[in-house]
Amino acid sequence: MRETGYKGILLEQNKEPLLSRGIRELERLPVQEAFFSEERPDPAQLNASRLQNIAYEAQIIDESDGVQLWKKLAKASRDGALAIVVDALDDEPYISSQLCIALWMDDELEDAITIVKDALGIERAVVEIYRNLTDIDIRIPSKIGNYRVRRVGGTYPAELRVRKNESKLLIIGACALIHLYRAVTRCRIQTTAFVSVAGDCIANPANYEIPLDCTVAQVLSASGLIAPPKRIVTGGSMTGIGVTDPTSVRVRPATRGILAFAEQFDDLGFSCIGCGRCVDVCPQGLSPYFVHKLLRAHRRGTARRAAEGCNCCGACSYVCPAKLDLSHRIYEVAADGRRGGEET
């Protein structure tokens, strides 16, 4: 019997109200356009270095991993990437800005892929979209223009499972591609981010194009609140960062979502009963139960070894019936172990 098979969890996606409309702008937060140059390049004449230059000038940052796009392009042309993978996975609930682009801005996305493909001389390109059983009613096209859409099914987290050898792939987020398209066709600098604004406090949940550097509080009030939020999150619902002061946190190029929930997690005073669900779901085949026990007994050394390989997907905390804060602590220990490993 395999103990480390890929497991993960099936999550309710909650993407529906966001995906039924396209990307919109908030009236109270108008988009200010800015341009880095007057002369527009001819998309057909681009080569790799010119494209990198444009990406650099337009200050585009890839939202899927927070890396500057020109660096990724440079690396791909240096390594001779075999294929372009357009990241429109959106495997976390609520977050759907990439998917929304793939569904509603498919012409621009297609042109953007063509531009990158021609400029870098890469043969193949594929768009990856995640879907699972809970949102069957979302219609995902089998092709975007000429490019194949690869549907990734199964459980959360999907990203790990589909990316086996990253070194020969050029993975670009869908939002970054749109920004690149705008930069190439209109010399526009990235001044916005595509953000999913959702949660049960939001009056109009949708994917918005939001100017960079506005605060989370501005975004929330502009999109309308129906209840005072108890928890605000920037980023994904599974891996995002909890916001303590919404007036000081600003929208960044890599911000994927702003979520506001009315419900507060109470400490129910439960202790671990060893149900083993965290072990059942861990995609890395770890035993969060074991690590938790070790950590509580202050055996950090052994815990470090037992936690190696944690990627902080949050699945264990999600399923835990005792509502323990597992993933955070385990990731901390695992990161600690990695640092220790590098030093020796």
Binding site: K293, L294, R296, A297, R299
Partner: protein, 197 residues
């Protein structure tokens, strides 16, 4: 066939009954102090077994030789004890080479583990329960195997206990006693024999 089954039943009785039921397995307040790894515990168990079996062999020989002697009855306990001591001294160099310093087993730990009441008890019981020399030795072997198994279980238990939030008055020895108590209750119920006292 009958002899064979007698041998096996002696072995089984030795393994199960005399050890965990009587919790012969823990002979000091802290089994953990002898060895802190499973491999070390296993090795110590094997050493104990070797000493016990060898001592039983000596004891059987002594009994065969002197059973008719006048002073045998009062002196037999001391004689059996000498058997244990002699076999321990004989086997000691071997053990010292086998695990000296490794697995966290100290010289004193070796002494306490391989030469103790448990081994002496095995010899005494196999002498008391079986008149046939072969059966007595097989019984001692069974006892030693059971002892090793029990030591492993208790090591596992104490490790598991050390990872859980035991209330402070119970931490350490008391909770281990309760653990052993419930374990011996379970094995007693499983086997369900009348206890020899």
């Amino acid at each position: 066939m009958n002899d064979l089954s007698a041998v096996f039943s002696a072995l089984a009785a030795g393994i199960i009954l005399q050890n965990v039921v009587l919790a012969r397995a823990f002979f000091s307040e802290d089994p953990n102090r002898f060895s802190r790894t499973y491999r070390g515990t296993l090795r110590l168990g094997l050493i104990t077994a070797a000493v016990a079996v060898l001592a039983t062999v000596f004891a059987v020989a002594l009994r065969q030789l002197f059973a008719q002697a006048l002073l045998w009855a009062p002196a037999r306990w001391a004689a059996y004890f000498c058997c244990v001591a002699v076999s321990f001294l004989l086997l000691r160099p071997l053990f010292a080479r086998l695990l000296n310093g490794r697995h966290g087993v100290s010289d004193k730990g070796l002494l306490y583990a391989a030469f103790n009441g448990a081994v002496y008890g095995i010899v005494l019981l196999s002498m008391a329960n079986y008149t046939s020399p072969l059966l007595a030795i097989v019984y001692a072997l069974g006892c030693s195997i059971g002892l090793t198994a029990a030591q492993l279980l208790i090591h596992a238990g104490s490790e598991r206990i050390s990872l859980s939030a035991v209330p402070r008055p119970f931490a350490g020895l008391p909770i281990l006693l309760i653990y052993i108590g419930i374990l011996s209750l379970a094995i007693y119920g499983l086997v369900g024999h009348q206890l020899p006292t």
